[in-house]
């Protein structure tokens, strides 16, 4: 396959125009760290954005950073960390889950995938932090979306569409993102031995409290058996962990941890872990450590299920029981990671029927290429919604040049 290493937005325009003329669909890559996610594509050339890697402007006082799409996420994170700032949505690093080289991944890939970590319940997702973008559409035209300020309602909010579009609408060349102060300290309340449903109730109570919880996860014993430190060490193999995170200035985080522990006393005694220990546990949850590609569940397909949070516990418990699989919960039950024993369709049919019933959706994030060819990777939508989505896609990319077939299985792929 041919690889085109673009040097600037003009190169991207030229490449897309040539692709249109030559009817050659393009696969868009930054670092290629998430190439294993999505429907296998019908493309025959790679558009490599890794040379577009400059930080255009970082203005800590304005709470914004403008970077080219191919910039390494790790470098950008350490840059903003040096000013005690962060991307509040906690972008996930998929390398542990997919078994790809650690620390890779570009800013464009972070936005294109739109995967947010535990703090999504408080701070929102990638879509809530993308303020502006320059991108090249499937018409081969550079366009601008949004701006460089947080508060902006000028024209349609096209940035929202770009986040999570898996490179199927436009090739982002530069983005402006909101950055937020990094909390001074964090405390995590650790409850032990709850079953999934009780844990879901405890997390619901925590989120319904005024204590400003910024992480709520539950790991059944099964998830602890398959993971090393820090989660494996935090719990006993046959005793589940329920974690609730409080962040802020030290006095406040400590005070709220105490208040929340008292409010949840009916769920049993709770320990509190702090700062580095707490951060390590949440990083492991964020990056789906229990189902690491280097661990015992390496060969199991992994689903990412998003659902109404209070339904999560009962749903996940039944799913694990019936499929003989394993699950763990983030977002207070609103995000379920499920590793299911290998089967012909990765349990897609049964799982999706069940997910539909609670108003959620499920994407098959880790699976062999063969399986991803056979199954709808992203949740099939109701007909009218799917048709509208397709019209939106074609309003950006009428010839289906960009990442053809990645989001939807069909005649195009």
């Amino acid at each position: 396959m041919e690889t085109l290493k673009v040097r600037d937005a003009k190169d991207v325009e030229d490449a897309v125009r040539a692709a249109i003329a030559g009817e050659q669909p393009l696969e868009i890559v930054g670092h290629g760290s998430k190439r294993l996610i999505g429907q296998p594509m019908a493309t025959n050339a790679l558009l490599d954005l890794s040379a577009l890697n400059a930080v255009t402007a970082y203005e800590p006082n304005e709470l914004i950073i403008t970077v080219q799409a191919g910039a390494p996420l790790a470098d950008v994170l350490s840059l903003i960390d040096s000013k005690n700032q962060q991307f509040a949505f906690e972008p996930i690093d998929t390398s542990l889950l997919l078994g790809t080289p650690a620390g890779r991944g570009s800013i464009g890939g972070m936005i294109g995938a739109g995967f947010a970590g535990p703090r999504r319940i408080k701070a929102g997702g990638a879509r809530d932090h993308l303020l502006g973008a320059h991108a090249v559409s499937g018409f081969g035209e550079s366009f601008k979306a949004g701006g460089r300020v947080v508060k902006n309602v000028t024209g349609y909010d096209v940035c929202k569409l770009l986040a999570g579009s898996w490179g199927t609408l436009a090739v982002m060349t530069e983005v402006t993102l909101k950055v937020m102060p990094r909390p001074e300290s964090e405390r995590t309340l650790v409850l032990r031995g709850l079953d999934d449903v009780a844990a879901n109730r405890a997390m619901t109570a925590a989120l319904g409290s005024p204590f400003d919880v910024s992480g709520a996860a539950h790991l059944p014993g099964s998830a602890l058996r398959t993971t090393q430190a820090p989660l494996g060490e935090l719990g006993a193999p046959d005793q589940s962990l329920t974690l609730l995170r409080l962040e802020g200035i030290t006095a406040s985080a400590a005070h709220r941890a105490g208040s929340l522990r008292a409010a949840l006393s009916s769920y049993g005694p709770a320990d509190v872990i702090e700062d580095a220990e707490s951060a390590a546990a949440w990083a492991a949850i964020r990056d789906v450590a229990p189902y690491a590609a280097s661990g015992p569940r390496a060969l199991w397909p992994v689903w990412r299920i998003v659902c109404p949070p209070a339904s999560g516990g009962a749903f996940g418990q039944a799913l694990a029981r019936e499929s003989q699989g394993e699950v763990f919960y983030d977002w207070a039950g609103g995000l379920i990671w499920a590793a299911l024993p290998p089967s012909k369709d990765a349990n897609a049919r049964a799982l999706r029927q069940r997910v539909d019933a609670i108003g959620g959706h499920a994407a098959l994030i880790r699976a062999s290429e063969e399986l991803r060819r056979a199954v709808d990777v992203f949740h099939p939508q109701e007909r009218g919604l799917a048709a509208l989505g397709q019209r939106v896609k074609h309003s950006f990319d009428p010839r289906d040049i960009l990442n053809r077939g990645r989001m939807a299985r069909g005649p195009a792929s």
Binding site: E2, T3, L4, K5, D14, R17, A18, A19, I20, A21, G22, Q24, A45, D48, E59, N61, G124, R127, D128, E141, K144, A145, G147, R148, V149, V150, K151, V153, T154, G155, Y156, D157, C159, L161, G164, L169, P181, G208, P210, D212, I249, S252, R256, P308, P309, L335, G359, H361, A363, F378, Q381, G384, L385, A386, L388, R391, V392, S395, F396, P398
Partner: protein
């Protein structure tokens, strides 16, 4: 009146009687209004300088009726303007002479309160404040709080992506909605999202929010609710010059503090507000900041001290800290009444709404002073300082010949300045008709064409709210045409591997 609307379609106007009769079949009784006298309340929205009677007003009360009305209008090539409470400050709900005004005022039910999922399902005509009131007993609230929250509808909030004083910390409408039911112009009913944190597929909720009634008609909304903070306290800090106040805002943010609200008023706004509500505002300062911290008392008390020290470091001349809820609300009373307060000192005013990078504030205020002299019109500034959202109020008298035109020209100059310093035309009021013709200041033809293509995906014939947001209307076939450049020679002149 310098803003032109699309020419009315005479063929549609000629069929008015037939159209009214057809609509009556869909929405019986008093739901169709066609008498000139009864249509008067619908002639304008919050941008009251512009008025236009619609062809007919329709007030459906079920989604099925909305779908039928839209399908009828689609099939008959009739334009439709959706309207919630009519509080838009940018003319988003200004009727069209040949259009149906579709009012959602009868959609007033709160359908479901789901505390466990922290979600409320409401009809679009429910007011912003009514949502918070409905969940208040359990300690919850709906975070976005536009100043019109007593009157403005949640459907209108979605259309405009409304903000408010607390969006620095809690986000705008788009950050606080989970799903909706939307009826397309074809009459097709689509559900987007629900009670989950994310939707599947493309983020259509994200594009519908802030689309100013151009993409579809919302008939149900699911919003996210939050627990109220334990406590809130405010500081009221005066400065001898605007630069010092601007520096204080930047320093608070640099210190890693995100206040619940951080508002600035300039001298004319302070004086107008004080004369109106007697909030004990200092009158000898050039700029006043109201900074609110919320959270647990232990946090708020500590942050209040930190902010006070920062303010002192920036040369504050006065500083009061609220010691009771009553006092906190008193601090806010002047700010919240700033618009009507300015209304008392001037026969008319024009409220602008640009956003700028915070660091540009002193420059922008200085330039605004020069413009004020040039146009011979006063200006008072209230400012969501935390997120750089300016609300200059331009004072004029519509009865004096030429003053309204001058005020509009002054306003346009301010917005151009906002774009010039790296900001945007509108932070929370929307483009509507008011800023429509300024869109090319911020966007190229290519940018605007791409946005209009998106519109085509929802409304291929351009029947929903035409004349708003986009200065030039193109037809969808023309926008969708692909101009293929070059021949079959693939990928010229790019390094390859």
């Amino acid at each position: 009146m310098t803003i032109l609307m699309p020419e009315p379609d005479q063929a549609v106007l000629a069929r008015r009687g037939e159209i009214v009769a057809a609509l009556r079949k869909i929405v019986p009784g008093e739901g169709v209004i066609d008498s000139a006298a009864e249509m008067v309340p619908y002639e304008s929205d919050g941008l009251m300088a512009y008025r236009q009677p619609p062809m007919v007003v329709v007030l459906p009360d079920t989604t099925a009726q909305v779908a039928k009305v839209l399908r009828y209008c689609h099939d008959n090539g009739i334009k439709v303007v959706p309207r919630g409470s009519g509080t838009s400050l940018s003319g988003g709900a200004l009727p069209l002479a040949d259009g149906v005004l579709l009012g959602l005022g009868k959609f007033k039910r709160i359908r479901e309160i789901d505390f466990d999922n922290r979600a409320v399902v409401v009809e679009p005509g429910v007011t912003n404040l009514a949502i918070s009131q409905a969940v208040d007993h359990a300690g919850f609230y709906y975070a976005p709080d536009p100043s019109s929250q007593i009157a403005c509808s949640i459907g209108g909030n979605i259309a405009e992506n409304s903000g408010g004083v607390h969006c620095l910390k809690y986000g705008m409408t788009t950050n606080n909605v989970l799903g909706c039911e939307i009826v397309l112009i074809t009459g097709e009913i689509i559900r987007v999202g629900g009670k989950s944190a994310e939707t599947s597929g493309y983020d259509l909720m994200g594009i519908i929010t802030g689309s100013e009634g151009l993409l579809g008609v919302i008939t149900e909304v699911t919003v996210r609710i939050l627990q109220k903070p334990e406590t809130a306290r405010a500081l009221m800090v005066g400065f001898a010059d605007v630069e010092a106040a601007g520096k204080c805002v930047a320093d608070v943010i640099s210190a890693g503090i995100i206040p619940g609200g951080m508002e600035m008023m300039d001298k004319p706004a302070i004086h107008a507000a004080e004369a109106f509500v007697h909030a004990n505002y200092p009158l000898d300062v050039e700029a006043l900041l109201i900074i609110e911290l919320d959270g647990p008392s232990v946090e708020v008390d500590e942050l209040i001290q930190r902010v006070e020290a920062i303010a002192r470091g920036c040369g504050s001349t006065t500083c009061q800290i609220s010691t009771s809820e009553k006092e906190r609300l008193l601090f806010w009373s002047g700010r919240k009444a700033a618009f009507p307060a300015v209304g008392r000192i001037s026969p008319d005013y024009l409220c602008m709404d640009g956003t700028i990078p915070r660091a540009q504030l002193p420059l922008v205020l200085r330039r605004m002073k020069e413009m004020s002299a040039k146009y011979g019109l006063g200006v008072a500034n209230v400012f969501h300082a935390g997120d750089g959202n300016l609300h200059p109020l331009i004072l004029y008298d519509a009865n004096k010949p030429g003053e309204m035109d001058a005020a509009e020209a002054f306003g346009a100059d301010i917005l151009r300045l906002c774009v010039e310093v790296g900001g945007v035309l509108t932070g929370e009021h929307g483009v509507g008709i008011e800023k429509r013709d300024l869109m090319p200041e911020m966007f190229s033809d290519i940018d605007l064409n791409q946005q209009q293509r998106l519109k085509c995906a929802f409304d291929a014939n351009g029947l929903l709210n035409p004349g708003k947001v986009f200065p030039t209307l193109h037809n969808c076939a023309e926008l969708g045409r692909m101009h293929v450049h070059g021949g079959k020679l693939a990928f010229p002149d790019i390094p390859r591997f």
